[in-house]
């Protein structure tokens, strides 16, 4: 609850962001921003355009029109790796890890791509590269320990349960010190106990690591527990933007999102 007064510079901002899929408007003139230190929730019924927002912000999709600004600079249509190297890091609604790599290597690779020495320079300066790599492996293990996953470091990612894979995804993102960490439905498929852990970890990411978070979520319990502010989408349109308890009372939101009140106690 500290984020909102402490700092008001938006880390990421969408201006009239619009995305059409073969004539179907998935997102329509969407304006929004996330400020430093905030945890912002993005909710809405199935198919309302939440993942489309995430894909547009991270460069996975190019918008039909509108702009994406990161730290005030225009990143509209930038490649995903460029966006990622500016500290905009994400997880996926359907968990994505590299199945051929061990858990630790999944994280080390993310570190390497974000901030490691290039392949050419590590080829030319092997000693430097090896020292860097040693540090990256340490960092990866620290992150895994934070998520209580250290004993799985050398397993293949796909040998883990869904809940464990989620934790690895979070560890991978957090390891790279993101400026903003975008989580697309991290509670999907988690047991209630794991949802509790998720809530705790999201709080710790902000409070201990200073990470700004955009949380796309269906499970209202998570949204209400951690979010400073909630944005509601319906049919690709923003219908509300405000404090969680206020937004929940908004008649437009209730209409769009029938079951919001009930599922908040899920």
């Amino acid at each position: 609850m500290t984020g909102e007064q402490k700092n008001i510079a938006p880390i990421i901002r969408a201006e009239a962001l619009t995305k059409n899929f073969q004539g179907m408007v998935a997102l329509n003139a969407f304006d929004f921003s996330v400020n430093e230190g905030e945890i912002v929730g993005l909710i809405g019924p199935n198919g309302s355009g939440k993942s489309t927002v995430v894909n547009l912000l991270t460069g996975v999709l190019a918008p039909t029109s509108g702009r994406v600004l990161i730290d005030g600079k225009d990143f509209t249509g930038a490649a995903p790796h460029v966006v990622a190297r500016h500290g905009v890091v994400r997880t996926f609604q359907m968990i994505r890890l590299f199945p051929s790599l061990t858990v630790e290597r999944n994280i080390v690779l993310a570190l390497q791509e974000q901030s490691g020495p290039g392949y050419m320079s590590s080829f030319l300066n092997r000693r430097n590269a090896m020292a860097w790599h040693e540090k990256a492996a340490c960092k990866a293990r620290d992150m895994l320990a934070l998520f209580e996953m250290e004993k799985h470091a050398h397993k293949l990612a796909t040998d883990l349960s869904i809940g464990q894979q989620r934790m690895v995804e979070l560890a991978r993102g957090l390891a790279t010190n993101p400026r903003i960490f975008i989580l697309d439905e991290p509670a999907a498929g988690l047991s209630p106990i794991n949802v509790d852990r998720l809530i705790e970890m999201i709080r710790r990411m902000r409070d201990e690591f200073g990470v700004t978070i955009l949380l796309v979520e269906h499970v209202m319990r998570v949204v209400q527990a951690v979010c400073d502010r909630v944005v509601v989408l319906d049919y690709g349109q923003k219908v509300a933007d405000g404090k969680p308890d206020v937004v929940v009372q908004d008649p437009k939101v209730i209409e769009a999102y029938i079951g919001l009140g009930r599922s908040s106690h899920a």
């Binding site: 460069g59 490649a79 995903p80 790796h81 990622a84 690779l109 791509e113 392949y119 991978r172």
Partner: protein, 302 residues
């Protein structure tokens, strides 16, 4: 390290078997085996590790071979200069092919490699003034390695060096990046990887090794003719990788040894080599999509 030890053991075995048990014929086969081991292993960098199907590997083989032949003819350069130059020129072509290629996806990418392979073949066979057309170009044997067995040892040593280099490459951080692209390119991009650049590098490296193999082949058969560098030759390298097992170090080595040596040893197969390769390709994709190495590694986890 164990892999490098095994490479050396395998090379020593090949050297002993072919020199002790066979005369010139066996050594001939052994040289071709070494060349195809380089080819299959280098194709696997893009096909197995990165997941890009290429039917253009014989084009790079040809570019390397013709680079050596043309340089030797026009400038009298020696093997020791032609080998690295053949690799560089082939690598460069790999990079250039990659620029348009990597805009395409999946099947379309494979079709573009076939188109490139065809264009290279047409240039080699039609640009008579430069390439000698169907007659090709003669190549003088490597000074100091004019006997068959001495040339065999030279090829064997180079093949061992290539395999060790490929082993290092695939076990390095670049190897992880290649596997990441194969596994999930969107994810690779969102963790910050410039996947296009990595794929270009992989294609260039893979092509450079094929070019090196081409130089070795040109000096072995003491000449170049376009018909050695057709799409059928490309398809047989693909068959070796698929039979042996994609994305596993020993897979392409095994595939190259089997598919090069078997048709030579069973003489009936020689005339029907490409039918045999085709049959192998179909059977393997049906019954062992991970290849022979994949079958073995089921029994003992890596």
């Amino acid at each position: 390290m164990r892999a490098i030890f095994l490479i050396l053991v395998a090379a020593a075995t090949l050297a002993i078997v072919s020199t002790v048990f066979g005369g010139g014929y066996a050594i001939n086969i052994a040289i071709v085996v070494c060349i195809y081991v380089i080819l299959a292993s280098s194709l696997d960098i893009v096909m197995g590790w990165t997941g890009l199907f290429s039917f253009a590997h014989a084009a790079f083989l040809g570019i390397g071979a013709y680079t050596a032949a043309i340089l030797g003819r026009d400038f009298g350069t020696t093997f020791w200069l032609n080998l690295p130059l053949g690799m560089i020129v082939a690598g460069l072509f790999g990079f250039l092919l990659g620029l348009p290629l990597l805009r395409a996806q999946g099947h379309f990418l494979a079709i573009m490699t076939i188109a490139f392979q065809t264009i290279v073949y047409l240039v080699l066979s039609q640009w008579t003034d430069f390439t000698g057309g169907q007659y090709g170009i003669e190549v003088e044997p490597v000074a100091g390695f004019t006997t068959l067995s001495s040339y065999f040892y030279l090829v064997l040593v180079i093949a061992v060096i290539c395999l060790i280099a490929i082993r290092f490459l695939t076990q390095s951080r670049l190897g992880d990046a290649l596997q990441a692209i194969r596994d999930d390119e969107t994810l690779a991009r969102t963790i910050g990887m410039n996947t296009k650049a990595v794929k270009l590098v992989a294609l260039a490296i893979s092509s450079a090794f094929a070019g090196g193999a081409g130089v070795l082949l040109a000096y072995h058969i003491r000449g170049v003719t376009p018909d050695d560098y057709t799409v059928l030759a490309s398809a047989s390298i693909v068959a070796m990788v698929v039979l042996g097992g994609r994305g596993r170090f020993w897979g392409p080595v095994l595939g190259a040894v089997l598919l090069t040596a078997l048709p030579e040893m069973l003489s009936i197969l020689t005339d029907y080599k490409h039918i045999f390769y085709g049959g192998v390709l179909i059977l393997v994709t049906m019954f062992a999509p991970q290849g022979l190495a994949g079958k073995f590694s089921r029994w003992r986890a890596r």
